[in-house]
Symmetry: C4
Subunit: 232 residues, 4 copies
């Protein structure tokens, strides 16, 4: 890494703050403007997918652009980040995420401090979060393996899809789940429901790490006609 830990942590915190401000802020905007819940979800999905492409591109070269404790955990398990730095990353992500929620509230002239009352629990929701995070980690690790330059797009597009195909609208991120507990708006989650989400997310991430470990272990280099930029 060309950047020192202080700057890497700042990038993780600022990036997670902007990500959460987008999720929460767009949720408030979309919910205010429409009576059709699918239109509101579109108004939440498109901004979130778009900002992920931006944030991963601009912070990736500094910190790796995790913005997500489940992702940092996976890289720690793969020994691609040292455990003390990983722990600090997670703290920066959580602090940044909460700050993002507060900024969104300030912009929309709402009480800055809130706690969500949105119930998000049950087996379906937990399966959904495990599937969502499984897919996210699969996307990141496979992307890094084959086309590292496209990671920002892959993650933005994956989350765009996962908002709709998972019953939980794909939080897929423990720091974002914690931050969303502080907003009693469209995108909120009741604090008591957060632990269930985090357990499901971590489970999905671990399964994805194992699947990728097996599936992508080949002897040589891929000779597929699809150009493998990351390996050039």
């Amino acid at each position: 890494m060309g950047f020192d830990l202080k700057r890497r942590l700042a990038a993780e915190a600022l990036g997670t703050a902007i990500l959460v401000a987008t999720v929460v802020g767009a949720g408030i905007m979309a919910d205010r403007l429409s009576d059709d819940a699918a239109v509101s979800l579109l108004g939440n999905t498109i901004p979130t997918g778009a900002i992920l492409v931006v944030l991963i591109t601009i912070f990736g070269p500094i910190s790796g652009a995790h913005f997500n404790p489940a992702v940092t955990m996976v890289f720690a398990a793969r020994r691609e980040i040292e455990p003390p730095a990983a722990a600090l990353y997670v703290l920066a992500q959580i602090a940044g995420g909460i700050a993002g929620t507060l900024i969104a509230h300030a912009m929309f002239a709402l009480p800055v401090l809130q706690l969500s009352e949105s119930v998000r629990t049950g087996t379906g929701q937990w399966i959904a979060e495990a599937v969502a995070t499984f897919g996210l980690v699969l996307t990141i690790l496979a992307g890094l393996r084959f086309r590292a330059d496209t990671i920002p797009w892959l993650v933005g597009l994956y989350i765009t899809a996962a908002y709709w195909f998972t019953a939980s609208t794909s939080f897929a991120n423990p720091a974002v789940a914690i931050a969303r507990a502080f907003s009693n708006t469209f995108s909120g989650i009741r604090p008591t429901d957060v632990p269930g989400f985090i357990i499901a997310e971590v489970s999905g991430a671990l399964v994805a790490t194992a699947v990728v470990g097996w599936m992508f272990a080949d002897r040589g280099t891929s000779t597929s006609p699809i150009t493998v930029r990351g390996a050039e």
Copy 2:
């Protein structure tokens, strides 16, 4: 290919599962949230297009990312995959697709096993499926010929368009059609209507293969100003 057959089949099964989980899951989500059928279709289109870019990018280097028996058939006809492997690809795609339907049901807390009652039949629908698959195979073969690195985007964008311009919302994929027969939700198709769809899809694929065989057979290399990455 740098990857063994076992991993290639796993990639086909997992990729088709995620694709179908997206089609079926986003269909359920969109249908639940909106009373406007066009909004629901947007909520189905955008996730499907997005996930195709992701899946083709991450599984392309392993298995070629067919996820579609009509596509595998085309590559077999062009002798780019050996017939026994092609047969196993098709089985993996069908099994993966059905698994994707079941996972979507589990996430949305619906009965896991269902059979669709959605009528999708008639000349218009069959013409639509033939046109849809014609366009898909044309896109893939022309993309491979001129800009192989853009295939994931081309397929994602093509399907985004075809959801709307074909009267059938463009299944264009026998494995996906079979999998969707197992879901009595927004994206389902009555089992008795599946054979008509498959015949139309295979017909469209064959015509596209013939057209491409003629149209792209030139003597030398293209000197068009549009850069031809795949040929570099």
Copy 3:
């Protein structure tokens, strides 16, 4: 050109057919599914932008992917296509466009032959078509000058925007205008209103050609930090 004229004309006809089938077909689908005209326009815009990226990528290396008599006229004026070939291009585009309309009708089980009754006339509409085509030609010529590899995206995105910011929903294409006269559906135009559109489109194209001729005539090569791929 590495491709003979016969194949280039086939590419122009087939590409224009698919483009028009998308415009007309998506218009029918969107109009049937929604009571909200803006949702219908979104359901028309997104497929059209998406298919343009695909069609220009896959047919560009064969014919240049004009699909538009105004564009062919501009290239003839710049002596980048010989006049007899240009005339045949225009005929192929018109024939292909009409075929696209008929295919869309067949897919949606509508009478194949129709004439539009949609009134699209007046100064505002003509200014809009002139502006729309001005912008399209500017985009194409500037794109070719600086970033030829991005032309498919630039055109797809430009038309996505122009559907909304021009009062006419941006036909910007005489062949498409003629083809749309044959459809009494969402995207149709009354035959008597077509000449006004064509005159406005050609005017806008000529102004753009002049503006580009002046603006992009510099002495040396751009040294802007934005990488100029087309010039590499």
Copy 4:
């Protein structure tokens, strides 16, 4: 720069005119067609994001494609543009922006000269504009540092997100704010509210410049796995 000042100013004026014509024109179109304000905002967001990718790609090599006095001010502060040229850039942007509003009105057959009566004021709105412009400048400077070739996409996607996550729908541009004061339509802003927006925008831009100055100042070159195209 390979282009003389006259052409650079023309590019700034024309680009800002097309940008504002898109914002105002798409606003009129979307507002006319829908009763759902979130659908209208989607119909404003998607065209604006799309046209930004186009305009920055085609004018970037000529003038740098600022289209925004706050951006020009940042480059002047970084001594990347000489002050007299910067002043002329700002004048060209303002003149072009106002022309864009008038063209939009002409296309939609509205009175060409208007003044907005839309109230856009208050602390929430000002925080939103500061945040919006902070993010825009961060995106541009970080993009230039790491992936200059992706700037058109980053800006288009950033604005796509910012339309929704900021309470002000992200003007983030003093020239656009002035131009929108001349339209009493969906996207207008009361003239008396413009100064508050401009102050907030300039503040956000200055903070972003400072943050970037610190965060991106590393000793060597990034060795992140994400390819840094701009530095190749």
